[in-house]
């Protein structure tokens, strides 16, 4: 049976509605990535640059969210993951962390960042290109 024939009587109505996603930069180096993403069209996704004020805003956002995505640069201070992650854990909100690793970053430096984000992330992706952040966000919609 062809794909079209098989799909002919499948229900067309959506089976899920859009999730509320908060995307937060864990260090200033990731602010540019989020700023670029924020310029695009998103529904139900909010972006928070790395700053104390943004951390507070994220904490407010978490209660109503379905997913918090943290973005970190390998080698940068990612200690904000603890604050955000604890809030997510308390409220049973899923967390995913994206670590952008430049080619020059050593394994040891990467490990330092990982040790900060791991306890608070239910999913970690380590990639060389920040374009993947958009791809993953689009896939979750």
């Amino acid at each position: 049976m062809s794909s079209a024939a098989e799909a002919r009587f499948r229900l067309a109505s959506p089976a899920s509605c859009a999730r509320v996603v908060a995307v937060v930069a864990l260090d200033p180096a990731c602010d540019d990535v989020l700023a670029r993403l924020a310029e695009k069209s998103w529904g139900g996704v909010r972006f928070f640059p790395a700053s104390a004020a943004a951390e507070r805003a994220v904490l407010d956002e978490v209660a109503a969210g379905d997913l918090v995505v943290m973005v970190a640069s390998a080698g940068a201070d990612a200690s904000a993951a603890g604050l955000i992650g604890r809030a997510c854990s308390d409220r049973r909100v899923h967390t995913a962390t994206f670590v952008i690793r430049a080619a020059s970053v050593s394994d040891e430096v990467l490990s330092n960042t990982l040790s900060q984000v791991r306890p608070w992330s239910l999913m970690v992706v380590i990639a060389s290109e920040d374009d993947y952040v958009e791809d993953i966000l689009r896939s979750f919609r």
Binding site: D107, S111, R118, L122, V125
Partner: protein, 428 residues
Amino acid sequence: MLRKEQNDLLTQTGPGTPLGRLFRSYWIPALLTEELPENDCPPVRVKLLSERLIAFRDTKGRLGLMDEFCAHRGISLWFGRNEECGLRCPYHGWKYDVTGECVDIPSEPEDSRFARKVKLTSYPLVERGGVLWTYMGPAGKQPALPEWEFATVPPAQSYMSKRLQECNWLQAMEGGIDSSHVSFLHRGDINSDPLFKGARGNQYNLGDLRPVFEVVESPGGLYIGARRNAERGNYYWRITQWVMPSFTMIAPRGGHSVHGHFWIPIDDENCWTWNFDYHPTRPLTDAEVAAMRAGKGIHAKIIPGTFRPVANKDNDYLMDREAQRAGRTYSGIEGFAMQDQSLQESMGPIVDRTKETLVPTDSGIIMARQRLLRAARALVEQDIVPPGVDPVHQRVRSASVVLPPDQPYKDGAREALIAHPGVAPATV
């Protein structure tokens, strides 16, 4: 989810398509060696990447893979006579050698040069590790021969099977990347299948149903680490290897053999699921080989004379509701292979990814799709050789390890993720 055009791009592998061109950058498994067991044996029809081909072994043992149809009147050469270093069409006697060159047209005058103007498209076919491999890309870009470890160990250490899977290659392969389903779908078999049972790691699998995933780019594709709780605060890691375009290697269990798959498109709505099992340092035991032949582990029982599984969609995969109710199997289907295949085929011939609802534990699947899309774009637009073509990218292993909580698995299992000949696998 994907946009429709992305789903189309990733699922279409026929001639002229971007993913078709990507697949045509690699050596891919075409047949089991046993399908062409001896010189002048019957030819075998092969459909790969939406191309209908015929494979044969000539009088001198040379292997050929070429257009299935005679240039004269379009007869299938499956009816051909494999004799005297060529495959002869039974209709009017046109004869082709293993390169597809027409070497004889009986109706032409004795010294006619017309036969030299007739040539069927052909592809190289080479034997390695019990598999006949082909490369279907441009002749000038043929890569070095495959170096997968299962194909380079002594024959007694390796076993290979294949089965027909009636769905697109990508949804089948994505099952190989998604190790979060193991604790559910396969939980009834982990401790009973002879090729899996008894490993300490099985208890970690069954005891922690919410693994944490780490996806890391590798030179040839991705490392997909699934982390579960072990004793004393340590973590049990199962690290799957995905190498582009469609090789996956499952993390080993205890002293069992190591296994994995290739998913090779037949056309856009069918694929071959290739299943390899090997041990890097010892021959497989008679009991192991017997279990593999009986369809245990990642292998399946096959209808004799075909590669179609005995449990298939025409018989509802021999669904056993009582086994499902009693917990002997989680889905009611017997065996790892058909548990996976039944669900993947139920998605439809080509799953509509515009309708899926992915979650963060699907990040390995998402990353794999994006790497494929990037590689196809780079190949088509800039002629960049994709990851996985270099034999170095193929010398990999999966691993299962227990590590301290602060150690990245890529560090802790660094050497375990490389195929070092004669070195035992890292396994729990």
